[in-house]
């Protein structure tokens, strides 16, 4: 029953053939955000995997790790690829400093908020996370110093990955309130992004004309905003409220942009639930995601329990990684909890 929506063919098609070509490694935006030393390691040691790297982890005094699918691999100091992770090139403090310098364009002052939040978005919509020692001011985190770890999460856009799901969500000119349940790294943001794009632009096959979509992108992950420009295709009628708290953002969008659909990532707080209620009052449809591995798990969470019991969501989609990223486990009807597929 389960189907993998992010399969190899689609993947390549959407990477426009360029990302996998070793000749154009240097044109990849995440590659440009690596220090020269690491660029060499990647371009010489990991060439065959360059198009498929999902994560790069730099941890001080430990080997650099690359995640490709579910596998982790590394590159030795001699620029040789290996699966023996201990033999990998060991990251030094200087490597991290150089990396931060490049990421911040030598301008730490310009990314103060980002450092406080622990991540920043680079051109291409990729997200870079940091850990280090917190600097507090009156009990609140002011910034991070002595960075000890950096994580590159390489975002991919897979156009058309929502094709299998959309027929279940679109009823004539209406979209259902939808909840996507998925463990981390199973493609929930990728699916949400494509849903937003198609719903916003319109879906001729389903005779759906397209509606205004308000996107509250608290962690700049869905649209990948960089200096005010979306780095991913998010549709013709999508307004993005970038780096705004979800609940506040949803209310703002309802008032300011009169969207037909609001999309947001990872709800869970009490105020989020309240904001969903307001959206319902305003007649706005909501598409959102939540971390979790099954519907049963979500039902057990106090905040979400109320939403489920209230039958707020009309469709519930569960993703997993069973047959690769983005395996579509099931789609439930939120009203009677019947399995639709």
């Amino acid at each position: 029953m389960a189907k993998v929506f992010i399969n190899k063919e689609k993947n390549n098609e959407c990477l426009s053939g360029m990302e996998t070509s070793p000749l154009t490694i240097s044109s990849l935006t995440w590659f440009q955000a690596l220090s020269p030393q690491l660029q060499e390691l990647v371009s010489e040691g990991l060439q065959p995997f360059v198009g498929e790297i999902e994560e790069i982890r730099l941890r001080v005094k430990r080997p650099v790790l690359f995640r490709v699918g579910t596998k982790e691999m590394t590159v030795t100091a001699q620029k040789k690829f290996t699966l023996q992770l201990e033999q990998g090139y060991v990251i030094t403090k200087e490597d991290l400093e150089k990396t931060v310098q490049i990421l911040s364009q030598n301008s730490l002052y310009a990314w103060e908020d980002e450092f406080k939040n622990g991540y920043l978005t680079i051109p291409g919509g990729h997200r870079i996370g940091f850990v280090g020692r917190g600097v507090l001011e009156q009990g609140y985190l002011k910034t991070l110093k002595d960075l000890s770890g950096i994580n590159y999460r390489i975002g991919r856009q897979i156009l058309g990955c929502a094709d299998d799901v959309l027929p279940y969500l679109v009823k004539r000119e209406q979209i259902d309130h939808t909840l996507i349940i998925s463990p981390p790294q199973c493609g929930k943001t990728t699916l949400l992004r494509d849903l937003v794009r198609q719903i916003s632009t319109g879906i001729p096959e389903l005779l759906f004309p397209g509606v205004n979509v308000g996107l509250v992108d608290e962690r700049s992950e869905i649209a990948g905003m960089y200096q005010g420009e979306p780095q991913f295709q998010i549709g013709l009628r999508t307004d993005v409220l970038d780096a705004c708290p979800k609940a506040q953002g949803m209310m703002m969008l309802i008032r300011s942009m009169s969207p037909g659909v609001i999309a947001t990532d990872e709800i869970g707080k009490n105020e989020d639930v309240e904001a969903l209620y307001h959206a319902l009052q305003a007649g706005v449809k909501v598409i959102t995601t939540v971390h979790g591995s099954s519907f049963e798990e979500i039902k057990a969470r106090p905040n979400l329990q109320a939403l489920i019991n209230w039958r707020f969501f009309e469709k519930i989609i569960v993703l997993s990684r069973r047959k690769g990223v983005g395996t579509l486990e099931m789609i439930l009807d939120g009203k009677n909890l019947e399995k639709l597929r």
Partner: protein, 174 residues
């Protein structure tokens, strides 16, 4: 023959006067430069503090607004930052200072002052950036005063000295 002599004498006087004027103008240029630099730093402060513009773009924008005499500093630093991977802000700024030194003569202390400013550039929070800029601006205003005094003292002197030197050479040769 006397025609040639006259022409030669004219050339010597004109040449020496020109040289004198050039040297005199350097004094004026230096005073202006330090004034412009202070303006430049104020613009840079705005870019950093209010619009959080990253350095490469901030320096370029400031450079475009500046007088052509101190443009090389900002434009060169911006270009180095944009083009060279892994270069630090201090290195890029130093390259800018060297480019500036090629246009207008700077003393060792003045160059040092600008280098020190570069070391604090970019690598800290806004507050610190603003402090660094304010401190450097203050020092530049002192340097400007010294340069102005030198200008008052030497500008006229060189303007006349050039002409007089030319005249003396002509008299000796005749």
């Amino acid at each position: 023959m006397s025609m040639f002599k006259l022409l030669g004498a004219f050339c010597i006087v004109a040449g020496c006067s020109y040289l004198g004027l050039r040297i005199a103008s350097i004094y004026r240029k230096r005073t202006e430069l330090f004034r412009f630099l202070q303006n430049g730093l104020t613009l840079l402060e705005t870019e950093i503090n209010y619009t959080s513009t990253p350095l490469p773009l901030a320096l370029e924008r400031v450079g475009q607004k500046m007088h052509k005499d101190c443009q090389p500093l900002f434009i060169r630093a911006a270009t180095v930052l944009q083009e060279k991977k892994g270069v630090t802000a201090a290195e890029a700024w130093a390259a800018g200072v060297r480019a500036l030194g090629g246009e207008v003569p700077l003393t060792k202390e003045e160059t040092e002052l600008l280098y020190v400013f570069g070391h604090g550039l970019g690598g800290s929070a806004k507050e610190e950036q603003v402090k660094n800029i304010a401190l450097t601006r203050k020092q530049l205003s002192l340097v400007e005063k010294v340069a102005e005094e030198e200008q008052v003292k030497n500008q006229k002197l060189w303007q006349y000295l050039g002409f007089s030197l030319g005249a003396v050479i002509v008299l000796i040769l005749i």
